[in-house]
């Protein structure tokens, strides 16, 4: 690197450039990213029109059921999925696990999810994500959390929702919170920005960016509890620019049909006739969990600082 923007002698920049990380997130906009646990599921996801897959050993619903420590997936499983599909492959690391992230980077995964779905490795700090060449996505429940993660180098933000619950209520809460706080900051006079940054625990420069632009500096996606085509459309109508579907597809009666239906509803979220078409012939959705039945200690969204 020869200058402050990382250009080398030829004026070239590589994957460490933040524009390239955000650029890949831009390419996933208006798409559906699906959790898959093996190559066969990855193929179904790709054939249904997913714009990326998230490789993991157990979908969140099973992590929740099985308990125990949830870690980065086996490298053989991820490699098998990388060989099978041509769409981007994402994989999860535990919050703060610098070395799981280095392993996934060495494998050439396209995006890392520093995820509350896995058992945190550090209960105070997240990964310093600017130090990596691979882009990261992180979950957020509110704007302060989103801006802290972006400050650390996240190139994409997703709502946390409540993974593996099949219940959309938390994703809706988080989307409304992030989008509502952005509206508030955009409307506020300049002199209130610093106190707001302090209150939110967010970097001042990023609060300023939101004030001036009315949006995050990186794409803002939804995740956690999306189980049906109208769930995807709901997240889009609340401001999410794409959706992740975790347990919702491969825990349903007919995964291939549901995967195609969620993709269709996500593309046509502004057209109720098309969302209706997407709802036909799907069989049963995954079973859901009422939030009241989940103790605070069982809620994955509470992980992250």
């Amino acid at each position: 690197m020869s200058d402050e923007q990382g250009r080398n002698g030829n004026g070239r920049r590589g994957a460490e450039a933040f524009e390239l990380k955000v650029g890949l997130a831009e390419m996933m906009k208006n798409g559906v990213i699906m959790d898959v646990t093996d190559a066969e599921q990855a193929k179904i996801a790709e054939d249904s029109g997913a714009c990326a897959v998230m490789a993991l050993e157990r979908v969140p619903a099973d992590i929740r059921r099985d308990g125990g420590v949830a870690r980065m997936s086996s490298v053989e499983m991820i490699e098998q999925i990388q060989k099978t599909v041509s769409i981007p492959v994402m994989a999860k690391v535990r919050i703060g696990h610098l070395q799981e992230a280095r392993v996934l980077e060495a494998m050439g995964v396209d995006f890392i999810d520093e995820s509350e779905v896995l058992t945190p490795a550090d209960d105070e700090h997240h990964i310093a994500k600017h130090d990596y060449r691979v882009p990261f996505v992180c979950g957020a429940r509110n704007l302060g959390e989103a801006l802290r993660r972006i400050g650390e180098g996240a190139a994409m933000i997703r709502t946390k929702g409540e993974a593996g619950s099949g219940n959309i209520v938390e994703a809706v809460r988080h989307l409304r919170s992030v989008v509502g706080e952005m509206r508030m900051i955009q409307a506020m006079p300049e002199e209130e920005l610093m106190a707001t940054a302090k209150k939110m625990g967010a970097p001042y420069e990023l609060v300023r960016y939101v004030h001036e632009n009315g949006r995050l500096p990186v794409p803002n996606f939804a995740a956690g509890g999306i189980a049906t085509p109208p769930d995807a459309a709901l997240c889009r109508s609340l401001g999410a620019e794409a959706v992740f579907v975790g347990s919702g597809i491969f825990k349903s009666a007919d995964p291939a049909a549901r995967a195609r239906a969620v993709v269709h509803a996500n593309t046509h979220w502004q057209d109720p006739e098309e969302v209706l078409n997407a709802c036909r012939g799907l069989g049963s959705a995954m079973e859901g969990i009422e939030m009241e039945t989940l103790a605070e200690s069982e809620r994955l969204a509470n992980r992250g600082w």
Partner: protein, 222 residues
């Protein structure tokens, strides 16, 4: 949906998946009006269409599911202009390799998908300078342009109808065949909109295509 009140041409942006909004914003900045295209009837009255960046698998499958393959070919045959960036360039090509996807065959070139590797091989590089003997297409008008390549394809084996407009590392990155332009990088992600601008200027320079006439009663928001 129309994004500005400018009086410039109405340009469609294929709305299936990808960085659709970035292209709509680029058009707005250039005084053109953008419209999302999600079905055959959205093509009515358009003179130009952008196939955005995104996932070529998703977009290719989406074209089929939205019955857009034949209408877009007819649009091109009738003289409609098309600009494909990255995934859009793959979709326009004669054929794709490395996990092939069905393509429209509107420009006589092959697209090798993910030809540089994974995201870790994505890069930003300046266009080759004009006058480079290896770069027949090293034109003055692109001098200094920074090209953003994200999991980009490479363009191989161009047919005689294909003109190379710009190269990076002596390889074609921007090509045209009449009004069909294919670009392996993402001009829409930068503030440098010379590619969009030059492509749109081609519309003004030539007469309107003999395509389906605009329906004045059509809802402009469709």
């Amino acid at each position: 949906m129309d994004r500005s009140n400018a009086s410039g041409p109405v340009v469609g942006v294929l709305g299936i998946q990808g960085d659709i909004e970035k292209h709509l914003q680029a058009l707005e900045r250039l005084g053109a009006r953008g419209r999302r295209v999600l079905g055959p009837r959205d093509l009515a009255g358009l003179v130009a269409l952008i196939l955005p960046g995104g996932e070529s698998t998703t977009i290719s499958k989406g074209l089929d599911r939205h019955d857009l393959v034949k209408p877009i070919r007819e649009f091109a045959e009738a003289g409609g202009a098309i600009l494909g960036t990255c995934a859009g360039a793959i979709v326009l090509s004669r054929a794709s390799t490395n996990h092939p996807v069905p393509t429209l065959g509107l420009i006589d070139i092959e697209a090798e998908r993910n030809a540089y590797g994974t995201q870790l091989d994505s890069f930003i590089a300046p266009v080759d300078p004009p006058g480079d003997p290896a770069a027949t297409g090293g034109q003055e008008e692109w001098a200094g342009m920074e090209c953003v390549f994200i999991r980009a394809p490479r363009l191989r084996r161009p047919g005689p109808s294909v003109e190379v407009l710009a190269r990076v590392d002596a390889e074609p990155v921007l090509v045209r065949s009449g009004r069909i332009w294919a670009c392996t990088f993402h001009p829409e992600l930068t503030d440098d909109l010379r590619v969009h601008q030059a492509w749109l200027e081609g519309l003004r320079a030539r007469s309107m295509p003999a395509g389906p006439p605009a329906d004045p009663s059509a809802d402009p928001d469709r």
